[in-house]
Assembly symmetry: C2
Homo-oligomer: 158 residues x 2
Amino acid sequence: MRHVISALVRNKPGVLARVAGLFSARGFNIESLAVGETEDPDVSRMTVVVPGDDAILEQVRKQLSKLVDTIRVQDFRDTPCVVRDLMLVKVKTTSAKRTEVCTIAEVFGANILDMAEKAVILELTGDQDKLARFVKMLNPFGIVEMMRTGRVAMARTE
Amino acid sequence: MRHVISALVRNKPGVLARVAGLFSARGFNIESLAVGETEDPDVSRMTVVVPGDDAILEQVRKQLSKLVDTIRVQDFRDTPCVVRDLMLVKVKTTSAKRTEVCTIAEVFGANILDMAEKAVILELTGDQDKLARFVKMLNPFGIVEMMRTGRVAMARTE
């Protein structure tokens, strides 16, 4: 089981170290972490994905809430939400295989960011399942490099 | 000036705490941080964006390289690369304004992830400039919530 937890924190030096220290001291695993800007330049949002049961989620929530620079903690257990991750993937291509790779990209709604003789860079956003299926389709061509931003989540509007 | 630094690190508990501690102890600011999966399940990629001059970049590179769990550090100062960030933004809409918001989304190549009576959730990927221009166009409608994953970078193929 995986939980997505999102914390609004003050944009100050040392905040990330405190959050990371908290996770490390308690042995909480982190599957992905995204720290990015929000609508307020003084506030960052950290979105953490942690594997574990509801007890782990409760502990992480509580510990995060206790930090002085935390403004708000939100989990999405009971909230309808969109969860998205951005993946960049560099795939080997030859002139014979290029069209096939581009067709797969098109079907998945991926963007082609770079094309060279020997490889293309594709960009795809989506949930875990979609990204996994995309990687599976590209594997036979040869994946040179793959990276993901880590997930972010936003509650749907009621 | 901003630098994008990417580190491949072993996927172990405590690695993030060590990296964050290093930044905090030396007073390096972090503008964004993305920690996500790679093609190897035992390896994560951390992409850090740090403001500062070339001396700062050199220091960050060196310090990161010294950590035992670091496999490789890469900066993109002299490398042609693609840099992307994923943004989710919830925008207020009324039935009168909805079409206008959707047209802006279409022009920017944004995806509409959720639509309700009072708000829509849009998703856009791109570089800093594009995301900033998108936010500027949406501001007059009322931004309820905005979040970004933090940037990731990939070298173009030669």
